[in-house]
Symmetry: C2
Subunit: 447 residues, 2 copies
């Protein structure tokens, strides 16, 4: 659908075409598709790239991963680099420079025009994960006294350079944000209409220091395409567009999913063996330490186990069920925090609910396992011991599944990070302790 | 920022204002905010709602959860319902009707105008999770012979009703999709320019039966705001907009995260106790069965454990580490499938990598635990037994972390579903079997 031409034919035509033919050919292709083509044909990478117009090279650089962007740019002369940089918007330039070391970023900044350089320097002062760090400076702003016709003429000149032309911000002489008009409203209005008549005054903006995850939540909640970023005085600093937000949402959820699964947030399914091992081994070693901790608890009770060896058989059930119940609570709480659904207001209620879930499911699972234990060992006390241990462990599991991520959040650590390790450690250590401890207390009835 | 007025004051002003005052007041408020206000003031819900203009009630119905939409609508007379329905777009109406039983949907369809009713009937024929099921019929289409000025006049009439005015599709007389022009290109062009001169011919579209998750991947890849949906003959059927995609992405990732965590996909952190128990208990019972399976393996070896009781102490380490390694592989593979990064082409390479990750990390962790086992029991063979068992278990863990979701995907079952249960079962059962089996074989050297 996206590429009507066969890829090889496309490659041939780019390599053998005149500049004009290539310009015409690539006009309707998406830079992402061309970047894919380049990656699939590494030998012809540079040769193809050199045939492309500057604006397209700029788009391709932007679509490339941050750490690879400069690798593409470096292949060109300084003069050509200047032309390519000219075609990039301020947030794209900031992403590019942000990934470089001091030496390289100096080189790049030197090749920008003065205005872009100033914009990038300013954007680099914001934290990368905040509204300021992801916004672009290329927004459209007009005064409310203009007419639709004047605005359309202004757009004919300015829209091609803007990050988005679909929302135009209405500002006063001091750049203070007064409202917004949509391009849809503009084209739906008569040429003589005044901007003031179609301005929406209650414009929803975000402060420059808002965390990007919170910005993404606002976009999702309101279904916006664009949001303006303002400072303390409501002066408009830049805009954020939905396409950047979609990328951020995907990044943030991948990060959460990876952290819950005990992986580095940047590991890729199609990455290298070395990267995978670097991502996983540290977590496995942390887990080894916690597993040894759990094992030591069992070690304390070796005397009991040697007398009632069936305890060893039931150990995996107690630990496993606690781990599962803990993971359930943890998952719902971590996702609730990420979606902004778990707030200060409802935290108490959610905690109470988790406690009751632990108690209820603990009683059900505990009753089943008690009956099973009784049948297996033909001993009522054995059944009661494992049943009670199960209830206690599932209660602890849901509690820690709630408490651990909430504490991490308070400490401003990502709740998904390390939560799983802490929760499993708690359920393993306490699970074995309850089970084997109770068995030791009632040992005389078990032998 | 979003609501300058205090909420209580806003409520007062809506309740006591004249129709005109209220119209003016709510014009710049976002329907999401008004819906929040209504939910926070249940007693005044209906009274406030009745003061609002029809278009805003329509927006509020659309923002409400699917199963609650009709509850709002029902509060009004048939005549008023007709007016509200008139203000809703075809995809919104389809969401509304799709959530109702036959009786209720008949009532709603009866109150729509003929065109909307026809649109909704048609949209309901597509599967809800496909491109056809999420598209809207209100798109803008023009012929390539028009000028910019003619197009602007067409937009002044049609844009207010359209789902988006930012992309206008160029079609021939048979509604076959020929290209696309952006509103930005239109406003950046001279009034006399022909549409043909600014048409992008290589428009990327999606077939009506494409799964919504794949549609979302395309949006993310290309950074689009809108995509057209076509049939087999490339006739344009409707459009999908990014704001719907953002909601779908969030739904789909929540679903994946929940399933990986052993939860029902629809459980909410702020939901009821009953819903939580209904979501979790079935999974816990499935897990109980698999835990009993693992326990039975241990049960087989009770004789061995009774002779070397330290085996019981080391059991949690072997099982726990296998579970962790399996979860890591599972997480990266499930996320890779969801992001479209694990494909038929690279599956073999990824499998080989997972195998090598299992082997490498297994050797590292196995070596550590072998030394520890040797020190604990002062017995080299004990160290070797647990070390080798660890290597085998971690190898099996990464393998099953890859194979289980890939098989589920082939069977067209969501890979996130049940994967965790299968993988933990495999690592628990085989982990205990390797460890206790090897110990039994070498029992004479361990006593």
């Amino acid at each position: 659908m996206s590429l009507d031409l066969e890829r090889n034919e496309l490659l041939e035509r780019i390599l053998n075409g005149t500049d004009e033919e290539v310009s015409k050919l690539v006009e309707d292709l998406h830079p992402v598709d061309i970047l894919d083509l380049l990656h699939d044909n590494q030998e012809e990478f540079l040769e193809v790239l050199k045939k492309l117009p500057d604006w397209l090279i700029a788009d391709i650089v932007d679509e490339e991963k941050d750490e690879e962007k400069y690798e593409i740019l470096k292949k060109f002369s300084e003069a050509k680099q200047k032309k390519i940089l000219e075609e990039m918007s301020s947030d794209e330039l900031t992403d590019l420079v942000g990934a470089l070391d001091e030496e390289e970023s100096k080189n790049i900044l030197k090749n920008m025009n003065a205005e872009d350089r100033e914009d990038v320097r300013q954007l680099l002062t914001y934290k990368p994960d905040t509204a300021g760090g992801i916004m672009a400076k290329e927004f459209l702003a007009i005064s409310e006294n203009q007419t639709i016709e004047e605005t359309l003429k202004y757009l004919q000149k300015e829209a091609p350079e803007a990050e988005t032309a679909y929302y135009i911000y209405v500002v006063d002489d001091n750049e203070i944000l007064k409202g917004v008009v949509s391009l849809r409203d503009i084209v739906s209005s008569k040429f003589s209409t005044k901007i003031a008549d179609i301005t929406h005054e209650n414009v929803i903006s975000v402060p420059y220091d808002m965390d990007q995850e919170e910005v993404a939540q606002k976009f999702t909640k309101y279904g916006f395409l664009t949001m303006p970023v303002v400072d303390e005085d409501n002066i408009i600093l830049g805009i954020i567009t939905i396409d950047d937000i979609v990328d951020i949402m995907q990044e943030e959820t991948t990060e959460d999913i990876h952290r819950l699964g005990g992986l580095d947030e940047e590991e890729k399914v199609n990455g290298s063996l070395k990267d995978s091992i670097k991502s996983r081994l540290p977590w496995l070693i942390v887990n080894l330490v916690t597993a040894i901790l759990a094992a030591s608890v069992v070690g304390i009770f070796e005397g009991t186990i040697s007398q009632v060896v069936t305890l060893a058989t039931f150990m995996p059930i107690v630990a496993g069920m606690g781990g599962n119940a803990g993971t359930q609570s943890l998952t719902i709480v971590v996702r609730g925090i990420a979606l902004g659904e778990l707030t200060g207001e409802n935290a108490k209620r959610v905690f109470l609910k988790e406690l009751l879930v632990g108690l209820t499911t603990g009683i059900v699972i505990g009753a089943i396992i008690a009956v099973l234990g009784y049948i297996w060992e033909s001993n009522v006390i054995f059944g009661i011991v494992i049943g009670v241990a199960m209830i206690l462990n599932m209660l602890v599991a849901t509690m820690s599944g709630f408490i651990v991520p909430v504490i991490l959040k308070k400490l401003k650590v990502d709740p998904a990070l390390a939560s799983a390790v802490f929760v499993t450690t708690v359920t393993d250590v306490l699970g074995f302790f309850f089970f084997l401890g109770l068995a030791t207390v009632f040992l005389q009835y078990l032998i």
